[in-house]
């Protein structure tokens, strides 16, 4: 019998982009940003700051001065670049591990610590429209779609950025948000921060999809993979996606490949489920050392500058801690203050109990 003709009706491919290899050496010809050393040093400084903050926060938790905290150790490049490239009027819909972006958009260390310290005031930060940290996995992707629809209806030139984890790509919300973004051609960029783990569940248990970027094919929207520990590659890819969206060319999905070097949160013990060997190898690919090496190789950085930077950042973090430590405990009646714009009569009796008690 002759071969059955199955006519091809659609074709797709997924690419991966990297400019600096693990050691910080170019793995292909570099784009112009790679010569913008002011910019690179700015990004580098911010990443060092982030790590100083992260280290401190873990410490605060260990000494009982903070609740559960989710570290960003090893993932600093992703948020740093997104925060750098988003414009002020853009809208961020983050998960709970996006300090790198948020600290560039009005959130203060004190806000982040308040959030993890069990105080809603952490979400009342100095940005009028960004969404706050989102705990229910992937649900923020739909808020981002709604925000993007609002932007589109009002014909504004703003982009919405939704950030979520690899685990989040298994939730219906993620697919539904991509799908509607595609149908409505929304100004919305999804960035999947694939740190290989969702608590104890490794990437391959989440999905048989070879890449997470290919999930965008289900929504008919373009996507790609990028080395999320390579600041330069991240910058190229995210910039283009944001530009596209801003110019009315619709949504985009970026899978940024990185690695969660720390436990999931301070409440987690990763030794129960992953090998030290894997973590050691991941340390070889971490983002800060990589750009550091590149800067040093280009004579734009040295040990002196490094020592000064480290001290400066620690001091900066320490300073910001004061605000957190000096924050008075919320009043018990604060529970009621923002339930509704105006407290309904039906709640007055309960309010009284609390204000007396």
């Amino acid at each position: 019998m002759s071969e059955v003709i199955k006519s091809t009706v659609a074709e797709f491919n997924i690419t991966y982009t990297q400019f600096l290899d693990e050691s910080g050496k170019p793995s292909q010809d570099l784009p112009s940003i790679a010569k913008d050393f002011d910019k690179l040093i700015k990004l580098y400084r911010f990443m060092v700051f982030l790590r100083a903050f992260d280290t401190k926060a873990i410490n605060l938790q260990r000494t009982g001065k903070l609740g559960t905290y989710a570290a960003i150790l090893g993932q600093e490049a992703v948020g740093t670049v997104i925060g750098e490239l988003m414009q002020k009027e853009d809208i961020l819909a983050p998960a709970y591990r996006e300090y790198g972006i948020q600290l560039q958009r009005g959130m203060k260390i004190q806000d982040i610590l308040n959030f993890w310290g069990g105080d809603e005031r952490g979400n009342n930060f100095a940005n009028p429209h960004d969404f706050s940290m989102c705990v229910p996995i992937a649900s923020q992707c739909l808020h981002a779609a709604g925000a993007a629809k609002a932007v589109q209806i009002r014909k504004e030139k703003r982009v919405v950025v939704a950030v979520c984890g690899d685990g989040a790509t298994s939730e219906g919300d993620f697919y539904e948000a991509m799908n509607v973004a595609g149908t409505w051609k929304l100004p919305l960029v999804f960035i999947v921060c694939n740190n290989q783990w969702a608590i104890s569940v490794p990437r391959h248990v989440q999905s048989a999809a070879g890449t997470l970027a290919q999930k965008a094919i289900a929504a008919g929207i373009p996507s790609e993979q990028v080395d999320g520990n390579d600041v330069i590659a991240m910058h190229e890819v995210v910039e283009q996606a944001l530009d596209r969206a801003r110019n009315g060319d619709g949504p985009y999905v970026i899978e940024a490949i990185t690695y969660r070097l720390h436990d999931h949160t301070t409440a987690d013990d990763a030794t129960r489920y992953r090998s030290q060997e894997e973590v050691d190898q991941a340390w070889q690919r971490e983002p800060i050392k990589r750009i550091h090496n590149y800067l040093v190789a280009n004579n734009k950085w040295n040990d002196d500058l490094e020592t000064k930077l480290q001290e400066e950042m620690k001091a900066h973090v320490a300073e910001e801690l004061e605000g957190y430590f000096n924050m008075p405990k919320p009043k018990a009646t604060d529970m009621f203050e923002h339930m509704y714009e105006t407290l309904p009569d039906a709640l007055l009796e309960q309010y009284e109990i609390v204000s007396q008690g």
């Binding site: 739909l142 609002a150 948000a177 509607v180």
Partner: protein
């Protein structure tokens, strides 16, 4: 002015507020060209266009989630769930986000949204099309749950719901979508939320109800009035937060109370009303509070739906037992 039905009053309120406030957008499944499966959005797409009246992909979690996103960014979204039975995929977004956006951000963001859904039984619809689960939302802090029971109240309460700065579940008793017609002036006048309506004043007994059960309850009240009794009928209207003052005042006067709801009995709005009476009106009572409710069973397929929905006979019997206690 022609008289209109409850569902037409919904359309009229939507059209009025869309005309008055550019931030109001209306969306859901089959609501644009088709005008909604009950025609509640009929004509809106023609009048206000694609940007303000649009169909979504088929996903209720999506509908609820984008509503939260739009509302947080300054729109006033009015989302339709095709039937209350299909709200549950969106439950997470409503409970974890819509209800909390203001509280979580200490007022920095909020969720001035309306989630509309036709609800309740009695129209020979298939499975999942007939339940009354208002209590699930009434349980959740941060939400309002509003249920109109006449064309005029549908119009006035929906306007109030859209204008309210917080999220409102607006549940439309589809059994009475076309039950009566009323002259409802299209004057943009809202009715107050969080307020029960006393539909009949009386001294012998208080009947507390809402939504489609208004129909049977008023019929029983009329019968009893004809029999010489003085019956007070309260339409709760906003079932969360509850206007217990109006109910308790009535009971202070009548000393007897029957609560009538189509929903299942356990952990319901009727439970909450009865519990409040047990806490605060206990010694006003001459007889135990009675609840006439749907049963604690799955709403049956429609062959038995009128065996499930409280009948006039069941209501009357409960009233008589309470009066004779």
């Amino acid at each position: 002015m022609p008289e209109i039905t409850l569902v037409e009053a919904v359309t009229q309120a939507l059209a009025y507020e869309m005309g008055a406030d550019n931030n109001v957008v209306v969306f859901g499944e089959d609501i644009a060209l088709n005008g909604g499966v009950f025609r509640a959005t009929d004509g809106l797409h023609a009048k206000f266009g694609d940007d303000r009246v649009f169909d979504t992909p088929l996903a209720e979690n999506l509908i609820a989630g984008i509503t939260v996103g739009m509302a947080a960014q300054g729109l006033k979204p009015v989302a339709e769930f095709q039937f209350m039975g299909f709200i549950y995929p969106g439950f997470n977004q409503i409970v974890c986000h819509a209800a909390r956006m203001r509280n979580r951000t200490r007022g920095r963001l909020s969720c001035p949204a309306v989630f509309r859904a036709p609800y309740g039984g009695g129209i020979r619809a298939p499975e999942h099309h007939s339940e009354s689960t208002e209590a699930l939302f009434a349980h959740i802090p941060g939400l309002r749950v509003v249920i109109p029971s006449s064309p005029a109240r549908a119009y006035g309460l929906l306007l109030a719901a859209i204008r309210d700065p917080d999220p409102v579940m607006f549940l439309e008793p589809k059994r009475i979508y076309r039950h009566v017609k009323q002259d409802v002036p299209d004057n943009g006048e809202a009715l107050p939320l969080d307020t029960a309506f006393v539909l009949r004043e009386g001294n012998d007994i208080t009947l507390v109800t809402w939504g489609a059960m208004i129909k049977e309850t008023l019929a029983v009240a009329d019968q009893l009035t004809n029999e010489g009794l003085s019956v007070e009928v309260i339409d709760v209207a906003t079932v969360k937060p509850l206007d217990m003052d109006t109910i308790l005042q009535s009971i202070a006067k009548t000393g007897r109370c029957v609560i009538i709801q189509e929903a299942v009995k356990t952990c319901s709005v009727g439970s909450e009303i009865a519990a409040n009476i047990a806490e605060k009106g206990l010694f006003d009572l001459h007889a135990p509070v009675k609840r006439v409710t749907g049963f604690d069973t799955t709403m049956p397929y429609f062959k038995l739906e009128y065996d499930y929905i409280p009948s006039e006979a069941r209501i009357k019997q409960a009233v008589m037992e309470t009066l004779e206690y």
